[in-house]
């Protein structure tokens, strides 16, 4: 047991400036998230309420246990796209009758809850979380189907939604659909592929084709209720297992269904009564520098997220630009890899590869705290085999089978993003701090590289290089790359599971770890060939 000490002084001007800057970013985040919460806006929200219906988030609040947390995923999905922030669906992990479930609620106030390409990606990501962590799935269904103008991006890949539902069922992961309204055409297969279906009386409408299409197809005269009403499905077709009197009743039934699942978590239970960190999470705002170029000691972060601020560092004297060590978080044992001075050298890469193997041997989940500018470049390092050593680390990360959690605390550039378990390396969850940036390289570097290449090309052609145009190009590229490196932009593209307040890191990781332990936690038995 090693309780971390802190060198943070909340009285410094630097601390105050950092804090103020981070609070500014958090306020921006609030503003963006508020757009998702506002759904389709006041007019559609009012209309929805006037119809006696609950909003997507109201349904979720009723569905989850009182006082239990709800960790929403990808609230900024579609940010920066032509579609509304939030992508007309709410997904997340909530506790329903004591069981952690993935909840997927369409937001009918946003264009009738129609799916656009971002809705699809967000929904598929939630489904992936459910499968990887063996979490029961509850769909709160009320969607007008596909956003037809973008059908080319939805129709073919969208089939995965139905495929995954039944694959979950086959894997023993329960799927429950509470149908509050429209769930027609392709959407009808959501209840169709679910283990349990609840339909709200006089509200649910589930059919392959509505009256106009039926009339066109066969000439038959019909109406909504006889084609796909809740009563019909409960009494005749058998598609509805439960007929709910109203929305609240549907949610009540949904909770009871979960209560009867006899659900057991397959991972080890956490140690009871974990002690909170000794150091105050509030300090995280003052610790994180406004400028990503300024490194910070990740132990100050670890001291504010792990139980009792207790962290046993592994190999502290070797490869000191990467901190590795063991801790408990909300009662779960974890191994932590955290960048200390941005750059990864050969020693850091080798240390990481060893540490990852040790965690796999001990069936211990890993947390990656990213703040990396990438692997070291330069003659000396290339000749010393930095590629080989970076590959060692990426090999270990890729083939590790204990669950990974990634938090982008600051920079996540270059192959450092890969070695530190970026999105492509399938961490079970990936969250980002509002100040974080991620790109192949820094904007200035990238613009500089383009400039050098262009200058060389011009010189090669014997032309005079246009310095004015170069300055403009660099400015433009720098601005574009900067904008595309920002947390909101990346979150909007589903490259993380959400931007979080740094002070919430412990809570978010705690929820994630508990979710992870719903599935078995087992270390890897084999890796790719290590190029030693």
């Amino acid at each position: 047991m090693t309780v971390l000490k802190t060198a943070v002084d909340p009285g410094t001007a630097e601390y105050a400036a950092n804090r103020e800057a981070m609070l500014g970013k958090l306020a921006e985040l609030d503003t963006e998230q508020a757009k998702a919460v506002a759904g389709g806006g006041e007019k559609y929200v009012t209309r929805h309420h006037q119809r006696g219906k609950l909003l997507a988030r109201e349904r979720i609040e009723l569905l989850v246990d009182p006082g239990a947390p709800f960790l929403e995923f990808s609230p900024l999905a579609a940010w920066g796209s032509e579609f509304p922030v939030g992508a007309s669906v709410v997904t997340g992990i909530g506790v329903v009758n004591g069981v952690e479930c993935v909840i997927n609620a369409s937001d009918p106030t946003v264009r009738g809850g129609a799916s656009n390409p971002w809705t699809l990606r967000k929904t598929l990501r939630a489904g992936e979380i459910a499968i990887q962590n063996r979490l029961p799935v509850i769909g709160l269904v009320e969607s007008g189907g596909a956003d037809l103008p973008t059908q080319k991006e939805i129709f073919i890949p969208g089939g995965q939604i139905f495929r995954d539902l039944t694959r979950k069922s086959a894997a023993g992961i329960p799927t429950i659909a509470l149908v509050f309204g429209n769930s027609t055409a392709g959407g009808a297969y959501i209840p169709g592929m679910s283990d349990y279906v609840v339909m709200v009386k006089e509200r649910a409408k589930v059919f392959l084709a509505g009256p106009p299409l039926v009339k066109m197809a066969t000439g038959e005269e019909s109406d909504d209720e006889s084609l796909g009403g809740a009563e019909m499905h409960a009494r005749k077709s058998g598609l509805a297992d439960y007929l709910a009197l109203d929305e609240r009743d549907a949610i009540r039934i949904g909770r009871e269904i979960v209560g009867r699942l006899n659900w057991r978590k397959q991972g080890p239970a956490p140690k009871p009564d974990p002690a909170p960190p000794i150091h105050d999470a509030e300090d995280l705002l003052g610790i994180i520098p406004t400028d990503l170029k300024t490194p910070f000691d990740p132990r100050e972060v670890i001291a504010r997220i792990v139980d009792a601020s207790d962290f046993d560092e592994f190999k502290p004297l070797y490869g000191s630009s990467l901190v590795t060590g063991w801790a408990m978080l909300h009662g779960y044992p974890v191994g932590i890899l955290a960048n200390a001075r941005g750059v990864l050298f050969s020693e850091e890469a080798q240390k990481a590869a060893q540490f990852i193997q040790l965690a796999n041997r001990a069936d211990t989940p890993l947390i990656f705290l990213q703040n990396t500018t990438g692997y070291m470049v330069g003659k000396e390092y290339e000749q010393a085999g930095i590629i080989k050593h970076g590959a060692l680390m990426i090999n270990a990360v890729s083939n590790s089978t204990v669950p990974h959690l990634t938090v982008t605390m600051g920079a996540s550039y270059g192959a450092g993003n890969y070695g530190m378990c970026g999105r492509a390396y399938d961490p079970r969850f990936l969250f980002t701090w509002p100040n974080a940036k991620s790109a192949v390289m820094g904007p200035a570097q990238l613009a500089g590289v383009l400039s050098i290449v262009a200058r060389q090309a011009a010189e090669g052609r014997g032309q005079v290089y246009d310095e004015d145009a170069d300055a403009k190009m660099r400015e433009y590229v720098e601005a574009q790359i900067e904008a595309e490196s920002l947390a909101a932009f990346l979150s909007g593209r589903l490259y993380d599971d959400g931007i979080i307040d740094p002070r919430d890191t412990r809570t978010v990781l705690g929820i994630a770890l508990s979710a992870i332990h719903t599935a078995p936690v087992e270390g890897a038995t084999g890796y790719g060939v290590f190029r030693l």
Binding site: V37, E58, D65, A68, R252, S514
Partner: protein
């Protein structure tokens, strides 16, 4: 020598007698009905005998079973307590004939006082002042108001006040029916009704050798439905009026001697503000309110009863009294709802600062109770939970102590008259000694039955109940219990809990934020600490602690601001609990005695539909609105629980649209 006493009674009085028996080295025998099998008096006795059944007529009123029980358990004496067979001469005789010692007055003396009509004649002859007797058929308008009483009655049963001559026949009929049910004798009589009288009574102790003690007087003027609620010694009225005590004691002694009384008895008088008094009746037994006499005299009246029963002598003069003692009867009843008796489980009862001694200590709090944590208060017997008695050098001190004790008492599970009692004890008129039988009418139940917790206290208590419930949910959460309550990374709405409180519904909407508690409508209220059973709030700079207990959906919040009970509403109404509109629900548990309407009848608003008997009182259930009786799912004689549907009334004719009745 008496060696083993059977107490032919239950609850607190059985425990009271057992206590003295234990002190004296006498063994004890309890009897119990089926409903009382787990009662405290049963566990406390050396042995106990079952009386099969529950109704008093099958159990505590069965003289044969009681005597058989005494013989089987080897008792050599029987103490009747009060109520049940305590004033039943036939039972006293049967006990004596069975060769057992009867711890009570001679059967002839019981008989002499058993009929109120005859006892008044006897007392008048002995020179005791009495009120005129009005034979029911001679009552004229000039005699009004009159009170109709059961000749064999007591405890307010069978009593009716009549202010309109036209009401007299019906009231006599109802009083007779109640009297017959309660005492087996339907005889009633009328007396002039003194609306503002004082109820003054004299405790007498008499031995078989001619000595009669007058052991101080008691005033029991504060009554509801002719049942005493607050009793005290000495009487403020008697203290106020020169020479009244001597006259009272003379009259009590004369009454006692006139019937050759022995043991403990109480001569009751009705007095006016000028100190004139009239004989009401003599209770030939130990009274419920005897503790105030014990507390002001230091006597153990039960010990004296035992001594007299063994032929002992009362030595010397009547004992002197000192200080002041007040007793209140803590009932499971709702004063604000027509004193409706409550039944159910008393989850927890804790009266703090309790001592029990009759030694002449300067002050103390005594609790005589048959109820304990988990006791079930049923519909078969009196809903009195406890008698709480204070004694102190002065009346004001005794009242303050008693009010403080009651206010701090923990009472969970049943609505009680606790707040009413505290309000009475703190009322200016009470403290001025201005008490008479019209106390509740004069000062109004709207004031006296008002909850101790004011509106703001109730709101804070609702918040405390919510936060404690929330903390409890976290502690018992199967997963993620360590995550802050209601945590959201994206906040869309507050947490919400709906509670029903005494003053109406409360919707508590709140969030636990990084900056602390944010509860809508609670500006300036902060959360200092929260645990499942205790919440400390900072209310604009004043720290207030709330203790919270939960039993199912009920939440009890105790604090110095006054106790408040809430029902935490389920987020999801159970469709099975759906009650048809127009349903009339039983306001209290009881049995249906009579039904005056049938399905299909057109009824007017206020028209009597049926009568419910609970706690020996008949309650008339009227139609709440005009309409047609669509359903009448009860029958005469049926036992119903509180909340049971008695009748469903629709506004429309039955052949009309009845969709709302699904």
């Amino acid at each position: 020598m008496i060696t083993r006493v059977l107490v032919a009674n239950r609850g607190e009085i059985a425990r009271r007698v057992f206590r003295t028996c234990r002190d004296l080295g006498i063994a004890t025998v309890a009897v119990y009905s089926d409903a009382d099998a787990d009662s405290s008096h049963v566990g406390e006795a050396d042995s106990a005998v079952r009386l099969p059944g529950n109704a008093p007529a099958d159990t505590y009123l069965r003289a044969d079973l009681l005597i058989d029980a005494a013989q089987r358990a080897g008792a050599d004496a029987v103490h009747p307590g009060y109520g049940f067979l305590a004033e039943n001469a036939a039972f006293a005789r049967a006990v004596i004939e069975a060769g057992l010692v009867w711890i009570g007055p001679p059967p002839d003396a019981i008989e002499a006082m058993g009929s109120k009509i005859e006892s008044k004649v006897l007392m008048a002859a002995a020179g005791v002042p009495v009120l005129d007797d009005l034979p029911p058929d001679t009552v004229a308008a000039a005699d009004l108001p009159v009170i109709v009483k059961a000749s064999a009655g007591g405890g307010g049963r069978g009593m009716r006040i009549v202010r309109e001559l036209a009401d007299l026949p019906r009231e006599i009929e109802l009083a007779g029916a109640e009297a017959a049910a309660a005492f087996g004798d339907p005889t009633v009589f009328c007396e002039p009704y003194l609306a503002t009288g004082h109820h003054i009574e004299v405790q007498v102790m008499a031995d078989a050798h001619g000595t009669v003690w007058t052991v101080g007087e008691r005033e029991c003027s504060i009554q509801r439905r002719h049942q005493k609620v607050v009793e005290e010694a000495p009487s403020p009225l008697v203290e106020r009026i020169d020479g009244m005590r001597a006259h009272l004691f003379d009259a009590a002694r004369a009454a006692t001697k006139a019937i050759a009384y022995t043991g403990a008895g109480t001569v009751e008088f009705l007095a006016d503000d000028d100190g004139r008094f009239f004989f009401l009746e003599m209770n030939t037994r130990l009274q419920v309110e005897h503790p105030v006499t014990e507390c002001t005299t230091g006597l153990d009246l039960v010990a004296i009863q035992l001594d007299v029963a063994e032929g002992g002598r009362l030595g010397g003069e009547s004992p002197a009294t000192q200080g002041h003692s007040i007793e209140v009867r803590l009932y499971a009843e709702d004063p604000a709802q027509g004193w409706a008796p409550q039944s159910g489980t008393l989850h927890r009862v804790d009266l703090p600062g309790v001592t029990f001694t009759t030694a002449a200590t300067p002050s103390g709090i005594r609790v005589d109770s048959g109820a304990r944590n988990g006791s079930v208060v049923g519909i078969h017997y009196d809903p009195m939970l406890a008698k709480v008695i204070s004694w102190a050098p002065t009346r004001a001190q005794a009242a303050r102590m008693l009010a403080g004790t009651l206010e701090r008492a923990t009472i969970h599970g049943l609505t009680t008259n606790r707040d009413l009692l505290v309000n009475v004890l703190r009322h200016r008129a009470f403290l001025a000694g201005d008490t008479d039988t019209a106390f509740f009418d004069r000062h109004g139940l709207d004031v006296l039955a008002a909850p101790l917790a004011d509106e703001q206290a109730e709101r804070l208590s609702a918040l405390a109940a919510t936060l404690a419930g929330d903390a409890n949910d976290r502690v018992h959460a199967r997963v993620l219990g360590g995550i802050p309550s209601g945590w959201r990374n994206v906040v869309s709405q507050p947490q919400r809990v709906d509670l029903d409180g005494p003053r109406g519904p409360h919707a508590i909407t709140y969030r636990q934020t990084r900056e602390g508690l944010r509860a809508d409508g609670f500006d300036g209220v902060g959360l200092v600490s929260v645990a499942p059973t205790e919440v400390v709030l900072d209310d604009r700079g004043v720290r207030r602690a709330f203790t919270v207990a939960r039993y199912g959906s009920e939440s009890y919040v105790d604090s110095a601001l006054g106790a408040v009970r809430f029902t935490v509403l389920d987020r999801f109404p159970n469709p099975a609990d759906h009650v048809p509109p127009g349903s009339l629900l039983a306001p209290m548990p009881g049995s249906v005695v009579r039904i005056a309407a049938a399905v299909g009848d057109v009824v007017a608003a206020g028209q009597p539909i049926l009568w419910l008997e609970a706690m020996k009182m008949q309650h008339q259930i009227n139609a709440p609105t005009a309409g047609v009786i669509a359903e009448l799912p009860v029958r005469a004689g049926q036992q119903v629980d509180v909340g049971a549907v008695l009748v469903v009334i629709t506004r429309d004719a039955p052949e009309g649209d009845t969709r709302e009745l699904h």
